[in-house]
């Protein structure tokens, strides 16, 4: 008994030690970011990493807001794009996963294989075709090319399908059908509530990916009133010899805040855990 207690104590010490070390590792970049937001460019250039805040917050804010773009506008644009893209991804991926799990149709397996194959295409180069296409149909300086493609998110479909295979019981669907519900009603009112935890996880991933996406938006959105916040922050880095690092970090901190808030809102599903319908053994 004593030995078991000792074992438990050792386990707990080790576990807490590791977890706390990982917490430090995880939070450290955020702390650096916030501290650097208060430091001047030369201070940062000479010591990029410091735990001592400085007094340049107001100056950095002036630099950030005194440019030819408006950070508030950037936050607004980013929110519009990321929120729409996330909603589309989550809803339509769940719907597609539902189609793959709940119905027995002839093209089901080929379609799933197709989704898997799509996932494997290297994005860097199919972007050649994507950009040329967008320029041809005049979808530059338009949010649509950043929002609409979110409807077809193979990775989200894959995850939701894997999850749904375990979580959704066919008996439940059957019962609803007997009650006379239409299929789309069953999906909206029965399937979605069951899938909420998995959808929340995918919502986080989709939102983060869309918010941090820099390469495609920076090529497609070139008008200053259309730019997303991360593009604006990258502008502050300008070219190597005219860079406002203090304002860059302030911008980075501002850019990450909406992400953190969204994350904390959805994170209750991560914290509470996922009460699945029970994966059978």
């Amino acid at each position: 008994m004593n030995k078991a207690l000792l074992g438990r104590a050792t386990f707990k010490t080790v576990a807490y030690f590791i977890c706390i070390a990982l917490v430090a590792l995880s939070l450290f970049p955020f702390i650096i970011m916030i501290i650097n937001a208060t430091r001047s460019t030369p201070e940062i250039q000479q010591n990029a990493i410091s735990l001592i805040p400085s007094t340049n917050f107001a100056t950095n804010m002036d630099v950030l807001t005194g440019r030819m773009f408006d950070p508030l506008r950037g936050i607004f644009n980013s929110l519009v794009i990321s929120t729409s893209a996330t909603l589309l991804t989550v809803y339509f991926s769940t719907l597609t996963a539902f189609a793959l799990v709940a119905y027995n149709w002839r093209m089901r397996q080929p379609f799933f294989t197709l989704i898997m194959v799509v996932m494997m295409i290297p994005a860097q180069v199919s972007s050649i075709g994507f950009f040329q296409f967008m320029f041809r149909i005049g979808w530059t300086n338009n949010f649509l090319p950043l929002i609409i493609p979110a409807v077809a998110a193979p990775m989200a479909v894959f995850f939701l399908r894997q999850y749904m295979l375990g979580a959704l019981s066919m008996e439940l669907l059957e019962a609803a059908r007997i009650d006379g519900s239409s299929e789309i009603r069953i999906f909206n009112q029965i399937v979605i509530p069951i899938m909420k935890p998995a959808m929340a996880t995918q919502a986080i991933f989709a939102f983060v990916a869309s918010w941090n996406n820099l390469f495609i938006p920076s090529i497609l959105l070139t008008r200053s009133d259309m730019m997303t916040l991360p593009i604006m922050v990258s502008l502050l880095r300008g070219d190597a010899y005219r860079v406002e690092l203090g304002a860059v970090y302030l911008g980075l901190a501002l850019a990450v805040l909406p992400l953190l808030i969204t994350y904390f809102i959805f994170s209750k599903y991560i914290v509470a855990g996922v009460a699945l319908g029970g994966v059978k053994g």
Binding site: L22, M33, A48, F92, P122, I148, Q162, V274, G278, G281
Partner: protein, 325 residues
Amino acid sequence: MNPKKKSFSYAKYGYLFSIPFIIVFLIFTFYPTIYTAVLGFTDSQGLGNINFNFLENPLDNFRVVLANQSFLNALWNTILIWVLNFIPQLGLALLLTAWFTSRRSKLRGVGLFKVVFYMPNIITAASVAILFSALFGHPIGPINSLLQMLGHDPYNFLNNPWASRLILIFIQFWMWYGYTMIILVAGALGISPDLYEAAEIDGATGVQSFFRITLPNLKMVMLFVLVTSLIGGLNVFDVPRLFNWGGPNAATTTVAVFIFNWAFTNRYMYGLAAAASMVLFVIVAVISAGIFFLLRDQDAARERKEQKRLRKLHKTNQNREVQKP
């Protein structure tokens, strides 16, 4: 709705509900991809040049790609970086999953830990890359200051190919273990508590129930983790490009970085870059197929079972409806 019609045409909903995905996919992914794939067989090159010819020998580009030492080196780097970061990443994620879902460990603050561990994944790749180059700055930088305090000379980590590669491996590990853990925890919490109760009654230890119950039941989620990590890992782009510009001695140049340089800088070699992407794609597809094959049993069996059950339900349903007045 007409019950009679409904009774035999559920399959159409499969098609119906997939339509949005399929349409958007065809326009925004399939078309650009096919366009790119076709380019792989052409001599397309040059900025703004939309004229290209199909090569006389359609596989010429592929031959050039596969004979290119730097491409092969980038491929080797990419696989190395993925394997070496994925193994510890999955290991740690599994360990944390075991701790956080175990009914016995009773750790406090599990909710906080779970939330915080994902946070490195939120920061943009550019910030992460700058942060780590600054950390390992030479001769002045936080890590080198630490070395000096311990009585060592400063070391130029960023000029050492293996050191740089290991730092990159660590960055990837650090950015993604939380993501993997979240997915695994989600999967593990879905396992029926009855199973654990039964195991406890049988006197199984925590370790035993993890290996006998948790792991086997995580197979489906693991399949997702493995395949998506493989795909993400072999396409990794932002961090390697910005962390040390692919150096030193191309030790951190990944395939995606290399392809990007071919396609979007200097000579704008779209044809070759497209062929190189196809090579990468085939490699990813083959490895993924292997993973699917290894983990297929349960998946396939479950599907078969599901289908059978569905058919059965379908049948009873039909019967019931026929019986309806």
